[in-house]
Symmetry: C2
Subunit: 231 residues, 2 copies
DNA sequence: CGGGTTATTGAGGGGCGTCAACAACCGTGG
DNA sequence: CCACGGTTGTTGACGCCCCTCAATAACCCG
C-alpha cells in the first residue's frame, strides 16, 4: 500500500458517505488528518480480529467484507463500494469483526479515532450519519440472512449476481465487464460451492438472463434475474 | 398491554442495559419519562415496518425479533432478554426492520426519542453504549449468518438450543423448564422445518444430550451439545 | 369428553454437495 | 512464438441430506 493525496473537499465519495452534510471547515479538518492508501486486488486491508483505532472509508474501488467460518471456509458478508465505511472502532481494544480485502484496485481513507472524534464535534451530523449507517447495515444483514436461509441455491446466486451488478454498476445489455471475483468467491457470498455457481451461471446463460464467459459478465435481463431472486 | 410502575433507579435490568454507567440524576430523569408495558406470550410488541419514535428496552421476560420472509414464512433473528434494546429510532420516519413479539410474559420500557435525547445529554456514556450495542449486534448477526449458511441442520438446531438455553438461563442437569417456543418457532430460528426439529430433538434425546418432552426441556450435557454445534 | 392445535415418526423424492475428468486461461521461461 | 505448469472454470455422475407429505399420537382448552 502506498500513501496518496486526495482532498476531502472535492471527494467523489463524499456525497454517499457520512461526510454528506459537513460544512467546509469540518471537511478541511478531516482532510488534514486523514491518510489515503492504495491496495491491489487480493490485498488485505483489515484482518478479522485485529485491532484498529479509527475509521476506514472506501474512496475508490471494490472490497469484500468477509469472515472465516468453520473448517476455514470463508464467507463474504457483502461487497463494499466507494463512500462506505468498512471498519470502525471507538477504542483500540475493540477487535474487527470482519476482514476487509480489496477485490478491485482500491483506495481507502483512514482517520484516527481521536481525530475523528474532534472532527465530529465540528460536524454533529456525522454522529447521526454514523448511527444511521450502523442501523442500515443491521437492516441489510438482517434481510440478507433471511434470504440465505430461505432461498434455494439458484435464487441465492441470482441474488448475489444482482449485488455484484449493483456494486459494479453494470448496465443492462451486452457490455461485458471484467469481474475480479472468482466462482469460489461468488459461492462464498451464497454459502454454496464453486461448482454449483458454475452450473447455475451456465443455466442463466442458456436462459438468456446474463452473458458470462469466465470473468466477463453482462446482465441481459435484470427483470428476469430479479424474478428468479424472488423480488 | 397495561402500564406498570417500575423505577429505573433499582431496575434489575439496568446493569446489563445502556444505562449501565448512568449517574443517579440521569436515571431519575429517564425514570420520570419512561412508560412500562406488560405483554402476554404471543402478543405483538412492535410490528415490522411500523414507525416508532423512541427506544424499547426489555425489563423482564423473553421476546423474539423476527422478520417476514418469502411466502410469508417467518424467520427469527434472535431472542431478546432483559436489558436488551429491541427497538430504536431517532426520527419518526424510520421504519422498524423487525417485529418484536413476546415469547414469555414480558415487561417492556419505552421512552420517547426527544426525552431519550435529553437524557443522553445528562449521561454521555449512553451514547457510547448505544453505539457499542449496535456494533455488537452487527457482530452477532454476522456470526449467526455464517453459521446458518455453513452448518447442516443438526448443527443449526444444536446451536438454536444453546441460544435458547442461554436466554432461558437453563442449568445443566435434569431440571425441566417449560419453554413457550413451539417446534415451528425453533425451526424459524434455523430456517428448517418443524418436522426436522422434532426428529433431531429426538436424536439428541436418545444421544443423552438433552431431555425433552414436548415443551419441557433440560440440557443434560452442554459440552456435547456444543460439540455438535461445532464450537 | 371432544375438537383443534402441536408434536412425533416414517416413507419418498429432489436439490445440492462431493468427486472427478476435462477444458480454458494466465504468466513464465525457453 | 510456443511449450508448459498451475490456477480457475465447466460439466457430469453419484449419493446423501433434508424438505414434503401423510398418518398417528399427545396435548390443551372449553
Amino acid at each position: 500500500m502506498k500513501p496518496l493525496n486526495i482532498s476531502c473537499l472535492n471527494c467523489n465519495a463524499k456525497d454517499c458517505s457520512i461526510l454528506r452534510n459537513c460544512p467546509t471547515e469540518a471537511l478541511q479538518f478531516f482532510d488534514s488528518k486523514k491518510y489515503c492508501m492504495r491496495y491491489v486486488p487480493g490485498q488485505s486491508i483489515i484482518r478479522e480480529g485485529s485491532r484498529i483505532d479509527g475509521v476506514y472509508v472506501i474512496y475508490e474501488g471494490i472490497v469484500k467484507l468477509h469472515v472465516k467460518g468453520r473448517l476455514g471456509r470463508d464467507f463474504i458478508l457483502r461487497l463494499g463500494k466507494p463512500g462506505e465505511i468498512v471498519g470502525h472502532t471507538d477504542d483500540q481494544f475493540q477487535k474487527q469483526s470482519s476482514s476487509v480485502t480489496a477485490v478491485e484496485p482500491t483506495t481507502v481513507c483512514f482517520i484516527e479515532h481521536t481525530d475523528f472524534e474532534s472532527g465530529m464535534k465540528k460536524c454533529p451530523s456525522v454522529q447521526r450519519e454514523l448511527m444511521s449507517v450502523f442501523k442500515n447495515e443491521l437492516k441489510n444483514i438482517g434481510n440478507r440472512t433471511i434470504q440465505l436461509v430461505q432461498m434455494n441455491v439458484r435464487e441465492k446466486i441470482a441474488d448475489a449476481l444482482l449485488h455484484i451488478a449493483e456494486v459494479y454498476k453494470l448496465k443492462e445489455g451486452k457490455n461485458p465487464v471484467e469481474i475480479s471475483l472468482s466462482r469460489q468467491e461468488i459461492s462464498d457470498m451464497t454459502g454454496t460451492t464453486k461448482e454449483q455457481v458454475s452450473k447455475i451461471i451456465s443455466e442463466f446463460r442458456t436462459d438468456g438472463f446474463i452473458d458470462a464467459h469466465g470473468k466477463k459478465i453482462s446482465i441481459l435481463n435484470y427483470a428476469k434475474l430479479k424474478a428468479v431472486a424472488g423480488g
